[in-house]
Symmetry: C2
Subunit: 652 residues, 2 copies
């Protein structure tokens, strides 16, 4: 057993290129509130649910049947990358063990590690698809996901080691990584995986072990990409694979969204360890383009169903939005790395946008059903998800399916929820940065002694975040609190006395003092509902407004509207105030609904026409109506519905 | 050899349910102008081009290799429905022979008929995919397209017979139809093809032969559909195949657009022959919904890439529009049948919208390259189509490809262009209806004697349509001239004297008199450019205007704009006049361009953000700029470009 590192996904080794240092799950506990509830449900509901499906669909059997002593006579089942579904689920369980130990979950990992070890060939290679006789090892890397699967195995092994100090899974993963080094390292092969993931996994393995061949191989995989050498017509062009342009020259995210984002996460990792500025410059350039031109208000990224891909800038139609859950999770991972490097609040803002909106909407409130892609609008009722069955993926049905044939998203949700504590805060030589506001206890060493902070808040139900210092070094240090971009009117008190809420250059309210146990900081963020408009280049959203409240994007969903209120004919009167409506029990939890005043457009004057001359436009609106908005995250939990985030605006 | 019927695709037998009677190509000749040029190029360029690709891609060989005396040792190639590509191309050639005879094209059909006959099994079955050993006859009808292919064979055979009086192809087709009757008739099998087409083909075969078993089988295929019995997960649900709801109960077009529209064309045919009102009611209901809520300004139908499908009403984002060429061609076929039934101008209006816009844009001006799906907007330059190669289909490249692996569209263009004359006019007991305005000669018998009309016009370059009566019965009759829906200010003279241009209840300007040879009718339609807006429920087009001029939809394309005019930042000032700009040689032909006044939005104030609070919206516009619009039909003929039909509107 090794001495465990902090239980956190990213631990930069070359710390001179990161402004902020991460903390582990052992140092950051979410103690109550909706995220704590989700972490509990993630363990108690999602984990058994997921492993049930992984068994049912043969994902575990696919590895079990490869054991040397196996006499299994059943065939391999499912898509060619199902191994990664298991590895991601195991990573989720591992982080969860870093949060709270569990003998049962320890045994689950032991069992699964035994099965994977049984499938692993003596040289370390493991892939249930290739080993089942489908193609040759590394024979079809553009599509095979072999290195992608190994990447997820590495991440799972590292998570388990950091969370528990145990090596079973880690040793398997390292052996698999060693095959990759042996076969690909020093350009023994010049190709790479069609689906990025291995890059960040190898950098993290280097961080965990100090073995530089992993870092060099990660660099090699980044270097060989973008030369238009991927020989495939499956997806039409090289952009899908980020193979059209070398990453150092690329100006924006292109192609398959999850792949593009995973690549960038690996690129930032590589920059941190190698210091090559061109890598960071590319990642920042692409992140700017993505965030400014290719991200929905909910944090959804990747608008195109075709190829699960980014389109050109400002192509953000809500009615055909794809918005894969994994892409937003990837974006949280990328944002986290950029936050560590730059210390700038905009990356934590983006993480928050993703977490409270698309990520939350991806999973049913029962935590046992999921959207793979997340509609940004729903004009017509669709049938509910199949019961006790799973679709492939594609268009989201009227309710969230329990599972998918392509089951990448649910285990990705598992690992994000389980590791969430690690995203709350960081530290640096000056002190502590609080990025996300959740009821939590943070306890970790600073220079000069241990610091402990207890945060209590109902945020985002209200905007009051109370941070109590319960332990502190004697020397002065700075508590930095993120001021979200939307929170222009924030206020802060220390022990009841108002202090400046003006943020520093990196977007944080910085309070430097000699802290004493018992000191209390209260930040009040203006979470009153507001109207948001899209950049005018977004065709599909021109002339619409959305309701936001704090970090939460709201949506109109049909079950909350009065009879006869057809969401396809609703317009929102932007001259009328928005009104909050606190419910103690909305879908089993406290929530704030928002009321707006609208009109119901009377389309009769259009007489069935789709078009008219500009001077002959009818404008028929009825009497004012009440529109009820709920957090987008809660939609589609009451059966099939229609839903709209961006509502046509009218004045009066 | 049989006495040929009129060379026209639809000849109702139960004429009591059609207001209008069709004429044949022998009676309607387009004599000059752009459509005559296209018909010439269709014969001289598109036909050899298409047969070249059909040979090159093995489409003909796939049948050739099945000849009893074949010793071909090459495998079958291409998709499972390639036979239909050949049959549609043959139908195109057949209609072209009805227009102008050609020994060379006669021989081409003879040769191909011989090859098909060689492949046909003794009982009449013919399908190069199944006969190559892929599956069993009728074994996978949901996907196999076997009846779809036979349907196209039937249409080709009928076209050849009506155009030339020859039976070679017709006899093969009838034998194939007889297998279908033998195997499926009287519910011997209760299933049907996943891709509709056979329905209208069988009704037309009944019309051609009087054999009622064809009509009964068409009815059976319509009846068994919509019971959710298609057992496939390939496309997720039954709607894709129009199998979710019986057609008589369906309220709108759903699923795969070409399939949905072909079904409705067959349903109208069936109504005409059987008189079952529920069929017509459904077709009209679905047509209304499609035209009012699911049709782009260009006549594109089917907005979704995923499943090549209709979405819900008002889902018409231009930036992700699919708009398959075949779907608009199908809509022309459907509109024609509804026009014959109702005599209402709105169906001819829809045909005109499709013809001058999406249909014209589908084909390069060189007539040897095609879009399968037709972008409604292009934000970023895409690479040009591959040279001397063909994509599968999917997203349209920067220029039109020469061919496709899924080659349904180019031969569909061929048959539509070749048969276009038959869509110009009809007759009824009262006289003649002129639906489309092209330089043409029409000559056919009315009650009381032969009528001959010579139409000369530059329409739509200008709005003047001159119709000269050169032969006429002695008795009075009515000349009905379509007044397009946009032409509110039309005027008409007869022999120089103004008469009423008010349309009758079915949308036609009706002039009843005792016509004499030499009488001249001049219709003047107001083709000045105008601004058009979309129904406010169309999210993606809110706040935009489009330029139309007569029936022609205009687009801004990058090659025509001044340097620095980024079409993604252009706004059109709707308070300024539109100005015409006649060019004698624009891409090799006369054209009228339209100038508008715009502004170039300065997005710098957005500082890279995608979203802002409603009260903080920047509105930065520079000095007025000139915007140049060209007919949408001409876009993408000058290399990769950006393009926009619907332009954000501003006032001042």
């Amino acid at each position: 057993m090794n001495d465990p590192r902090p239980a956190t996904p990213v631990i930069p080794r070359a710390t001179e290129r990161t402004r902020l240092a991460p903390i582990g799950l052992e140092s950051a506990r979410i103690v109550s509130g909706p995220w704590a509830d989700w972490q509990r449900d993630n363990r108690e509901v999602t984990t058994p649910h997921s492993f049930g499906w992984l068994e049912r669909d043969g994902t575990v059997d696919n590895l079990r049947r490869l054991a040397p002593d196996s006499d299994a006579d059943y065939p391999r089942r499912g898509l060619w990358f199902t191994d990664s579904d298991l590895y991601k689920a195991l990573e989720g369980v591992a982080w969860d063990l870093g949060r709270i130990p569990s003998e049962e979950l320890e045994r689950l990992i032991e069992d699964m590690a035994g099965i994977i070890a049984g499938a692993q060939l003596p040289d370390g290679y493991v892939n249930s698809f290739v080993q089942a006789g489908h193609g040759e090892r590394w024979g079809n890397l553009v599509e095979s996901h072999e290195l992608y699967c190994i990447g997820h195995l590495i991440q799972a092994g590292i998570a388990h080691r950091r969370a528990t100090g145990r090596d079973e899974l880690f040793d398997i993963a390292r052996k698999a990584a060693d095959v990759a080094v042996a076969d690909f390292g020093d350009l023994r092969r010049g190709d790479t995986d069609g689906h990025e993931e291995i890059e960040m996994a190898l950098v993290e393995l280097y961080r965990e072990t100090g073995e530089e061949s992993y870092l060099r191989l990660a660099q090699q995989f980044v270097d060989v990409r973008g030369q238009r050498t991927f020989n495939t017509r499956r997806h039409g062009d090289s952009e899908y694979y980020q193979d059209a342009t070398p990453v150092r020259e690329e100006t924006t995210v292109v192609g398959h969204a999850v792949r593009a984002i995973y690549l960038l996460a690996g690129v930032v990792d590589l920059y941190i360890e190698t210091g090559e500025e061109a890598l960071l410059a590319s990642a920042l350039r692409q992140w700017d383009s993505m965030t400014g031109e290719k991200t929905y208000l909910t944090g959804a990224v990747g608008s195109r169903i075709d190829g699960e891909a980014f389109g050109p800038g400002f192509e953000l139609p809500p009615d055909l939005a794809y918005g894969e859950t994994c892409a937003t999770i990837g974006n949280i991972m990328l944002g986290w790395r950029l936050l560590l490097v730059t210390g700038e609040s905009r990356f934590a803002d983006a993480i928050e946008r993703g977490l409270y909106n698309l990520f939350s909407a991806s999973t049913s409130l029962g935590r046992n059903a999921f959207y793979y892609n997340n509609p940004g609008q729903r004009r017509a009722l669709l049938p509910p998800a199949p019961v006790d069955d799973r679709p492939h993926r594609s268009l989201a049905p009227g309710t969230r399916p329990a599972w998918f044939e392509c089951a990448c998203c649910p285990p990705n949700v598992m690992r994000q929820v389980a590791s969430l504590g690690a995203y709350l805060a960081t530290h640096d030589a000056h002190g502590v940065q609080l990025h996300q506001f959740m009821p939590s206890t943070l306890r970790f060493p600073l220079d000069g002694g241990e610091v402990e902070l207890e945060t209590s808040t109902e945020y985002p139900l209200d905007g009051v975040v109370t941070v109590r210092v319960t332990a502190t070094p004697e020397t002065g240090w700075t508590l930095a609190l993120r001021r979200p971009d939307w929170a222009r009117q924030a206020s802060v008190t220390v022990n009841g006395e108002e202090v400046s809420a003006e943020p520093g250059e990196r977007g944080y309210i910085e309070i430097e003092r000699e802290w004493r146990p018992g000191d209390v900081v209260v930040v009040t963020l203006p979470v009153a509902p507001r109207l948001t408009v899209a950049h005018p280049a977004v065709d599909a959203l021109r002339g619409t407004v959305a309701i936001e409240r704090g970090p939460v994007v709201y949506a109109l969903e049909s079950p909350d509207q009065a009879d006869g209120v057809d969401l396809d004919r609703v317009e929102l009167d932007v001259t009328q105030p928005l009104r909050e409506d606190r419910r103690d029990d909305f879908l089993g939890r406290p929530a704030i609904l928002v009321h707006a005043t609208g009109r119901l457009r009377d389309d009769a004057a259009w007489r069935g026409r789709g078009w008219t001359a500009i001077d002959e436009q009818p404008d028929e609106a009825g009497a004012p109506i009440d529109l009820v908005a709920i957090p987008y995250a809660y939609w589609a939990n009451r059966g099939p519905s229609t839903m709209r985030i961006h509502v046509p605006a009218r004045r009066g």
